[in-house]
Each structure stands twice: as structure tokens, then as C-alpha cells.
């Protein structure tokens, strides 16, 4: 049946962060792997429960900063020594100490830019359409609700009852 293909998963609402974390743990023990947890604030306990590893943000920040530092120093060298040398007061063309401040500022700028881009790309943002928004009550997830989505393309009665047993106050099907 075509309808069964157009399903994103099963969404359960919990009232406390503790209940959500326990539900995630129980589901993983029951063998479910594709679990998403939506919370109104970063919840550290979920990193462990969902086994979230590190991410690319710190590396991207470093790469951005390295490009800024090396790029700016090289550019200043090329500008002041090779391309258009100007003799001012007998100072050396390659005035390294004076090249550091511009390089420092551009390092900060590109490092921050690298981090922000890595966050947005890693999170696949901006993304204005997402199936979870089909559920009316999902708007609470940005305020006071702790929401769990188990990806499954079929309606699973077993999963529904499992979620209800774990203390979900509401269980919804999420269409794709």
C-alpha cells in the first residue's frame, strides 16, 4: 500500500527530561536504533543515551582559523615584498611583527565563520520543511515538551504500546 511508504515515524511526548532519557534507553535496549529526541534545551544526558559522538564544528573552526592566519600572512608578504614594495623609513619590507595584528583579526573572523558553517551544514539548516512539523503539538518541543521520534515506515502497534508503557502522554503517527 502506498500510504505505508509515506510515513516518517512515530512521535511520543514526555513531560520531563528524565522520562525522555529513560525512554530512549529502553527503546535502544529493545533494539530500536533510529531514534530522534527533540528537547527545549540541550540535555547532556541524551549524548550518552543516544550515543552522540563528537562533531565537525571544532575542526571546521580550526581549519577556518588556519586559513585566516596563513592566508593573511602570505597575502601581506606578497603585497608588501613582491607585488608593491614601498620603502618607509628604512624598515624591512617583510615587517613580520606588524603583519601579525591583521592576521590575528582575520583568523578570528574566519574561524568563527568556519564553525558557524559547520554547525549549519551539519544540522542541515536552513530546512523549512520537515515531517515532524506535521504534528500540531510538536510546537511544544521548543517550549516545554520532551519529544521522541522513532523512525519507522510502517505503523507498529507494538511500538505504540511500548511508548505508552514508557510514560508517553501522547503518541502520534508522523506522515512523511
Amino acid at each position: 500500500m502506498a500510504g505505508e511508504q509515506e510515513r516518517y515515524g512515530c512521535m511520543a511526548f514526555f513531560e520531563t527530561p528524565q522520562a525522555l532519557v529513560e525512554a530512549v534507553r529502553a527503546l535502544r535496549e529493545a533494539g530500536y536504533t533510529q531514534i530522534e529526541a527533540y528537547t527545549p534545551f540541550p540535555l547532556e544526558a541524551l549524548d550518552d543515551a543516544l550515543d552522540i559522538r563528537g562533531n565537525a564544528v571544532p575542526l571546521a573552526t580550526f581549519v577556518g582559523g588556519a586559513i585566516g592566519a596563513v592566508g593573511m600572512l602570505v597575502m601581506q608578504y606578497i603585497a608588501a615584498v613582491i607585488h608593491y614594495p614601498v620603502r618607509v623609513g628604512g624598515r624591512p619590507f617583510a615587517s613580520w611583527p606588524a603583519f601579525i595584528p591583521p592576521a590575528l583579526e582575520i583568523t578570528f573572523l574566519l574561524a568563527a565563520l568556519g564553525g558557524v558553517l559547520a554547525m549549519l551544514v551539519g544540522n542541515r539548516l536552513p530546512k523549512f520543511y520537515h515531517p515532524v512539523f506535521h504534528v500540531e503539538r510538536f510546537g511544544r518541543a521548543s517550549q516545554d515538551a520532551f519529544v521522541l521520534v522513532v523512525r519507522s515506515e510502517r505503523v507498529e502497534e507494538q511500538l505504540r504500546s511500548l511508548l505508552q508503557g514508557l510514560g508517553a502522554v501522547q503518541v502520534d503517527e508522523v506522515p512523511a
Binding site: 527545549p40 562533531n55 583579526e105
Partner: protein, 452 residues
């Protein structure tokens, strides 16, 4: 630190708040209809901003001659205002970033409006060096870009460093602010009841959903941005100071300037954070979120920064006479007893004497007293820049070129107009965006509940 066991004045968050009540309370401030008070403040700041715009028009038409600057005093209000504004921004980043790295929970209630203060103050400050250029429409000549004449900026000039510092600081501040706003914009999107607001906040929220992995990346980013922002703040205000230190003029040519300027920046920035925070707290009923504990902590920070600034005044005075340099000594004598001595003594009264009241815990919890002291500090810090700039320039090495500086009406219009522009941006921020970081507050509540 448990919420239940702490004395009332020590609490970071009033009792009885839940995730729901926090989100509703802060969200409602942005989503409710305009109040009369808001309209009045909006109208006043708009008027001042229009005055500023008129000043800019006159400046573009006639040039910098409309100001009171002359030779020898070629730098005056434009540079004073520039340094004053960029300094005010510094404390916003410090509250946001340094207190985040130090895991100070009290920053959560303050960081959003402090970051907004930073972004607006830096934006306003960046205008002044441009206006001061003579031909402001060529300001991009300071930047490096491919051009017909194959010209490059002079990399050894502190003015070029300063330009890059302002640009980097403004852009990083905007990024830091916006990234922190994303989850709150999503909350407003979900709370909004009208289509227009849902679309408005929805577009800016970029589809934020609050998934655990997304939070993890956001938290990593907040951490690295905080780590970048702290040295950035120090470097930016050091560049501002180097504009002066690189000049071989008595009173400027000193290695003390960068730390001195950074301390002054934090000092005036904390003052501005109090000047903005106290009315916000009073008029928007945020007393349960910005508690007496927050005011107490901010004023302690202001006192610490102020004491360092006072120490610098003393060292400057000592070094001038210890150096044995006749020009340094002459400059210091002028500062203490010359034609501009009243400026120096105003600075001492505001920045050194007034803050001594902050030793008393009773004063630190009295919002009216704090507001008055913070205003005095802002005024004192403006006069301090006047003292540093004008008092050095008005008597140069040759007595034949000595001269006084008198501001014109346009100087005053640019000063008060820029205050208007800053307040206009801030009132718009208060009206449209969450003035307290909602997700940070929920996180704080979770932490306090977990411990209590």
C-alpha cells in the same frame, strides 16, 4: 547551588518557574501588542536618530569643517564617540563569552541583551571613523581588494589593524548573537498565533527543531565561539589603544595603553549593561529573571574594572614625572591644572570616587543608586576619552601651534544622535526579539532543579 535553599537575594531565578512559565513569559514580551511606554521610547529615539541623519547629511554636504576640530586638535568628538561606543560593546561579549567559559550561571539571564548591546554599540561606533575620513564614501579604500592601481593598504599602520579589528568584531558578534538566537526564534515561531509572525520568525529560525544532535553541534559551536570571542575582545580594544600608542605624542606614546583601554572598556560596558538592564527589569517585570543577585554581580564587576582604571590613572601620572621627559610632564601638568583640568577632575569624580559606593552591599542592591552610579561612569568614561584625546593634542611640541578645542552644535548632534541610533536599535530589539535567552533559562532551571 539549590534554588530552594538559597536566601532570597542570592537567587538567580525566582521560585515557582517552570519550563512553560519561562517560555511564555519571555515569549509574550516579543509577541504581545505594543505598549504606550514602548511607543514613547521608540518615538524619542527615532527623533534623535533623525537628528543624527540630518547631521550626516550636513557632513556629507560640507565636510568635517562643521565640527569644532582644527589644527592642532584634529581628533575630537568623532574619535571620542568611536572609542566610547566600541568600549561599551566589550562587556557584552565578556558577559556572554568569558562567563560562559567560567561556567557562571548568572550570565544566562543577561547574555542576550548584553550581546544585543554589543552588536548595536559596535555598529554605531564603526560609523565614526568613517565620518571622520573627510571623504567618507571612500572608506573601502582601507580594505584590501583588487583595484585598478594595484594598491594595497599600509599593513604597518595601526589604523588598518583597527579597521580589520572592527570588521572582525562586528561580524563575529553578529554571528555569535544570531546562533544563540536560533532556538529562541524557533520558540517564538511556535508561540506566534498570527500567520505574519509565524512566517517572520519561521524564516529567521531556519527551521530549527531542537534535535539532540543539533543541540550538540550548537553547544560545541557556542563553546568555540566563546573561546574565540574572549581573545577577540582583548585584541580589538588593544588595536583601538594602538591607534594612540603608535603616535609619538606625549600622553599617547605608551605601552600601558592596551591594558588600560581594555579595562576602561569593561568598566563602561558593565555600566551600560546596568543602565539598560535596570529599566528593562523594572518596566517589563523581569525582576524574577534579572534578580538582585545579577545586579549585585554586575556592580562588583564594574567596581573591579573601575579600580583597575583608577590604578591606571595613578600610574600614568607617576610615569609622566618618572620619565623625566619635559613634554610628558607638561602634558600631565596641563591635565591636572591646565585649561581642561575640569575634564580630568570630572573623570576622577565619576570613575574613581563615585564607584566607591559600590563597596556597600546595600548600594549594590539598590537599583536606583546603581542606575545613577552607572550613568556617572558612562559620562566619566566619555570625558576620559575627551581628556586623553584633546588634552594631548591641544598643546603640541611647538607653542606657536597651540590652540583650544570648542565643540560646535554639530558635534553635540553627532554625540546625542548616535545615542539615539543605539537606543532605536535597542528598542526595536526589545520589541521583536526575546530579550532573555529562553533556552539558556530552561537549561538553568533544569540545572537548579537537578541540584535542589
Amino acid at each position: 547551588m539549590s534554588a530552594a535553599g538559597t536566601a532570597r537575594h542570592e537567587r538567580l531565578l525566582a521560585r515557582g518557574h517552570t519550563y512553560t512559565s519561562l517560555s511564555d513569559k519571555i515569549g509574550k514580551l516579543a509577541l504581545r501588542p505594543n505598549g504606550t511606554l514602548w511607543f514613547v521610547s521608540f518615538a524619542c529615539s527615532l527623533l534623535l536618530t533623525l537628528l543624527f541623519a540630518a547631521g550626516v547629511g550636513e557632513l556629507l554636504k560640507k565636510g568635517v569643517g562643521i565640527w569644532g576640530i582644527n589644527i592642532p586638535v584634529a581628533w575630537a568628538f568623532a574619535l571620542i564617540n568611536y572609542v566610547w561606543w566600541i568600549a561599551i560593546g566589550m562587556a557584552g561579549t565578556f558577559i556572554s563569552a568569558a562567563l560562559y567559559l567560567a561556567r557562571q550561571d548568572w550570565r544566562s539571564s543577561l547574555n542576550r541583551y548584553a550581546e544585543a548591546m554589543t552588536v548595536f554599540a559596535v555598529a554605531v561606533s564603526g560609523l565614526f571613523p568613517i565620518f571622520h575620513l573627510g571623504r567618507p564614501w571612500f572608506f573601502y579604500w582601507v580594505a584590501f581588494y583588487p583595484n585598478r592601481m594595484s594598491l594595497w593598504p599600509q599593513w604597518r599602520s595601526s589604523l588598518v589593524w583597527d579597521f580589520l579589528a572592527i570588521i572582525a568584531y562586528l561580524l563575529v558578534s553578529i554571528m555569535y548573537w544570531y546562533v544563540g538566537l536560533l532556538p529562541d526564534l524557533a520558540t517564538l515561531r511556535d508561540q506566534a498565533r498570527t500567520r505574519g509572525k509565524q512566517v517572520f520568525y519561521g524564516l529567521f529560525a531556519l527551521g530549527w527543531r531542537g534535535e539532540a544532535r543539533h543541540w550538540k553541534r550548537l553547544e560545541s559551536l557556542n563553546l568555540v565561539l566563546a573561546g574565540l570571542a574572549v581573545p577577540l575582545v582583548f585584541s580589538v580594544h588593544s588595536m583601538v589603544a594602538l591607534d594612540f600608542s603608535e603616535g609619538t605624542l606625549p600622553g599617547w606614546h605608551s605601552t600601558m595603553f592596551p591594558p588600560f583601554f581594555v579595562a576602561g572598556a569593561f568598566f563602561s560596558g558593565f555600566a551600560m549593561a546596568l543602565v539598560l538592564g535596570i529599566p528593562l527589569r523594572r518596566w517589563l517585570g523581569l525582576g524574577d529573571i534579572i534578580t538582585p543577585k545579577h545586579l549585585d554581580n554586575l556592580s562588583k564587576m564594574m567596581l573591579a574594572a573601575g579600580l583597575f582604571v583608577g590604578y591606571n590613572y595613578a600610574v600614568e601620572c607617576f610615569m609622566a614625572f618618572y620619565s623625566g621627559d619635559p613634554y610628558e610632564m607638561a602634558e600631565m601638568k596641563d591635565r591636572l591644572a591646565g585649561p581642561y583640568a575640569w575634564v580630568f577632575w570630572t573623570v576622577i569624580a565619576c570613575n574613581v570616587v563615585a564607584i566607591q559606593f559600590l563597596w556597600s552591599p546595600r548600594m549594590r542592591r539598590n537599583p536606583v543608586a546603581l542606575f545613577v552610579i552607572s550613568m556617572l561612569v558612562l559620562i566619566g568614561m566619555w570625558y576620559e576619552r575627551f581628556m586623553l584625546i584633546v588634552n594631548t593634542l591641544f598643546r603640541t611640541y611647538l607653542p606657536s601651534s597651540w590652540g583650544m578645542f570648542y565643540p560646535t552644535l554639530w558635534d553635540l548632534i553627532f554625540l546625542f544622535g548616535s545615542i539615539g541610533l543605539f537606543l532605536l536599535l535597542f528598542t526595536l530589539f526589545v520589541r521583536w526579539l526575546p530579550i532573555v535567552a529562553m533556552f539558556e533559562m530552561r537549561k538553568l532551571l533544569h540545572k537548579l532543579q537537578g541540584a535542589g
